[in-house]
């Protein structure tokens, strides 16, 4: 039932269809977790979008110098894309039931993000070595803040990833692992999109 139809129905009348339209799967189901994840993605989108707006508005004001982009960012981007592709592959494999290979791809996909975070750390070092501190140029400050928050969000994802890995070692059933893979898959793609948006913003200004 479409949203419009839902909110225009007259609830005081008898509605047999109400029983067919049972809501979600309740607590603990994959569907519920997916909904929760999507809502969180919405929140994170709002957060990064607002940083983007603030970046843009601050850029119009004084004291702004072009950011010296760390050279490693291109390589980092490739690594993050690889991570996302690996996660997608893991997800495809797990839906096809090939859990052994899926777990391997899942492991590799998380590892790529670890690598990316290492690369981001090097980018920070590069800037610091150049004397590009946060207090000398708001563009630098934005770079540290936004990449830092992006990194924190990735760490959150890695936490879920690590727990799923541990459960794999403990011999959890395939359905649970498969659910973790699916959720991580969405999240990895989202974080990649966020990064591409950040990177694009940095490159274009």
């Amino acid at each position: 039932m479409s949203f419009f139809k839902t909110v225009t129905s007259k609830p005081w009348l008898d509605d047999e269809a109400a029983f067919d339209a049972a809501p979600g799967g309740g607590a603990g189901t994959l569907k519920t977790k997916r909904v929760g994840l999507f809502i969180f993605i919405g929140v994170a989108t709002a957060l990064f979008a607002l940083f983007g707006v603030a970046y843009y508005m601050r850029m119009m004001m004084g004291g702004w110098h072009m950011l010296i982009e760390p050279t490693i960012l291109g390589a980092n981007t490739v690594v993050l894309i690889v991570g996302s592709v690996l996660m997608q592959w893991a997800s495809n494999l797990s839906t096809r039931g090939n859990m052994r290979r899926a777990k391997q791809a899942f492991f590799a996909g998380g590892f790529a993000v670890l690598l990316f975070l290492g690369g981001q750390y090097m980018a920070w070092q590069e800037l610091i070595a150049l004397g590009c501190y946060a207090d000398v140029n708001p563009a630098n400050a934005f770079f540290y803040v936004i990449t830092g928050l992006h990194g924190l969000h990735l760490l959150g994802g890695l936490f879920v990833w690590a727990r799923a890995l541990l459960r794999t070692v403990d011999g959890a059933d395939d359905a649970a692992i498969s659910a973790s893979i699916e959720l991580c898959d969405y999240y990895w793609h989202f974080m990649l999109l966020v990064w591409l948006a950040i990177f694009g913003l940095l490159l274009s200004t």
Partner: protein, 597 residues
């Protein structure tokens, strides 16, 4: 935040046994709700005392010698921030949201109970960090609750040393807590409703909390962004919000930042925040009125649409707080129009509340008294909001006591009335005992008449032009002597109203042991929370079988029924017109009623 997405939920409903798991590290939404509420009320009491001290200074300047400028601004700031964020937001969503959502939609618990528990503990951490600022060198920040830079992070403002740092840190922590809770509330409503509980059969309380939470999830990031950036400006000297300035004779190293950027971000959060507090109150008052007037809420669909409209519109009105901020005056046209448009759905809600009373069977219970007084104070505060929204009218009134009176009416008194009404209403379900009625009556009358006596005349100080956030009004020529007398009278009223709240607290604790034992459904209400097998509801809420919902939450005084209410889980009865209907059938409802007879 996302890391607990896949937390296993307590499907088997193992009852926690030890004291620690039952009352402290509890994952039960009802316990968490009580934890949230008690913490919020405790910190709210601090804010209440602060307001007393402020009023003493305003009414009887110099009477309390320890209140100097620093202290006054610190009290004002902490009072505002605590009331708005740590009391009202926390109690409506963390308290009532937590308690009522699973019970009202027929779920066993929140869908992510572990995350829910974490939400409370992180909230408590935020409160502790906030409280800590009273004890650091320099004390809490005195920047005003809006924390406008550059002033908030500079010398000349009390608490610029540590207070502001702790305040911003606490806010950031609060937002993390809110997000964890908010994900739960929204997902639970979307995913864990009982069979038959369509969205449009939900009580308006759930709708109000649902939309308010959604707004919070989208608006709090703006506070997060501005908070983090301001924190960096203060701590490591970035120049997000601070331009080149000279502070008390010294040139500072800042340059190029924009104070207005902060204001935009702050109010992009701050205006929805008003509705984050108001919408749950809208929802709850709708239900209280309906129950105690034994009549269905008038225009349920319109009420839902109005909530949705307010939720959307409130994101495009933020700059009406900034008409005289120095932003491009052309924005004034846009924001005045959007602001006054939002008055239409809000007005609809008011009409529908009072129309619900028409041809009703009104029981003047204590919750009903609070609900009716909510309508009055909300209407008052809402209408004075039109002055401030109407751009040019805001010019003389901005930053005067008119503003103070307005927002206290609309988002202080009105929501608090509903907090009280809701506590009197649901206390029997939460504790199994009734609150003492006579104490409730006294509490109500003192609070209602007292707050009106405080804030109604305060608007007129605003007409005179008395500016707000003044430590002292000494030697200001245009303020007549009589205004000082009025200030003293307001202070007396404030002290009395404050004291009445202590009676309420006494009632809450007294009734816990000595209150009359409550029946399962003392108000004869239809909604699901009153249909639990036990009172108070046990862990898992519903015993072995989840409820099945057959009707909306407002089947009061249905023609043909013997009782004047039909619980939501009562199957359709023979006297009810059966069968399908065309959803596009726009036949007036009164016709249907006629044919029933």
């Amino acid at each position: 935040m996302v890391e607990h997405e896949d937390e296993q939920s307590d499907d088997e409903n193992h009852e926690p046994t030890s004291f620690l798991t039952k009352y402290v590290w509890s994952q039960d939404h009802k316990v968490i709700a009580v934890q949230y509420s008690l913490t919020a009320i405790a910190i709210g009491l601090v804010a209440l005392v602060l307001s007393w001290l402020m009023r003493m200074q305003l009414g009887f300047p110099g009477a309390l010698e320890f209140i100097d400028e620093d202290a006054y601004y610190q009290y004002a700031t902490m009072h505002g921030m605590i009331m708005v964020i740590y009391l009202l937001t926390a109690i409506f969503l963390g308290g009532f949201g937590n308690y009522l959502i699973p019970l009202m939609v027929g779920a066993r618990d929140m869908v992510f109970p572990y995350l829910n528990m974490l939400s409370y503990w992180v909230y408590l951490l935020a409160v502790i960090v906030l409280t800590a600022s009273f004890f650091v060198p320099g004390g809490p920040t005195g920047a005003g609750w809006t924390l406008y830079p550059p002033q908030s992070i500079l010398q000349g403002t009390p608490g610029y040393e540590w207070g502001i740092i702790l305040m911003l840190t606490s806010l950031v922590i609060f937002i993390v807590a809110f997000t964890m809770g908010g994900l739960n509330y929204v997902t639970t409503i979307l995913q864990a409703r009982a069979r038959g509980m369509t969205l449009m059969r939900m009580p308006l309380t759930v709708w109000g909390i649902f939309i308010a939470t959604f707004m919070g999830l989208l608006a709090f990031p703006a506070l997060f962004v501005s908070g983090v950036m301001l924190l960096l400006d203060r701590v490591i000297g970035t120049s997000f919000f601070v331009p080149e300035i000279i502070s008390l004779g010294d040139p500072l190293a800042y340059g190029g930042g924009s104070p207005l950027l902060f204001q935009h971000l702050f109010w992009f959060f701050g205006h929805p925040e008003v509705y984050i507090v108001a919408l749950p109150a809208f929802g709850i008052v709708s239900d209280l009125l309906s129950v105690h007037a034994r009549k269905n809420i008038f225009g349920y669909r319109m009420m839902v649409w109005a909530l949705l409209a307010i939720g959307v519109l409130s994101f495009i009105v933020w700059a009406h707080h900034m008409y005289v901020s120095g932003m491009d005056p052309a924005f004034g046209f846009f924001f005045a129009i959007t602001t006054l448009i939002i008055a239409v759905p809000t007005a609809i809600k008011v009409y529908n509340w009072v129309l619900t009373l028409w041809r009703a069977d009104i029981h003047m219970t204590v919750p009903m008294l609070f609900s009716l007084s909510f309508i009055l104070t909300f209407v008052f505060g809402g209408l004075t909001g039109l002055f401030l929204g109407n751009v040019v009218v805001d010019v003389p009134l901005s930053d005067t006591y008119f503003v103070v009176a307005h927002f206290h009416m609309v988002m202080g008194v009105a929501p608090i009335m509903i907090v009280f009404g809701a506590i009197y209403h649901w206390y029997p379900k939460i504790t199994g005992r009734m609150l003492h009625g006579a104490m409730g009556q006294i509490h109500f009358w003192v609070t209602f008449l007292g707050t009106y006596a405080i804030y109604f005349p305060m608007h007129y100080l605003g007409f005179v032009g008395v500016p707000r956030r003044y430590y002292s009004y000494d030697e200001i020529d245009f303020i007549p002597e009589s205004a000082h007398d009025l200030n003293a009278a307001i202070t007396v009223a404030a002290l009395i109203v404050g004291a009445a709240q202590l009676l309420f607290l006494y009632n809450v604790f007294w009734s816990l042991r000595k209150g009359e034992k409550a029946p399962a459904n003392p108000w004869k209400a239809t909604s699901l929370e009153w249909q639990t097998p036990q009172t108070p509801p046990a862990h898992g809420n519903w015993g072995k079988e989840l409820p099945v919902v057959h009707r909306w939450a407002y089947d009061y005084s249905v023609p043909g029924a013997e009782e004047d209410y039909l619980p939501q889980n009562m199957p359709r009865q023979p006297f009810e017109k059966s069968g399908a209907h065309d959803p596009h059938d726009d036949k007036p409802v009164t016709d249907l009623q006629e044919s029933d007879k």
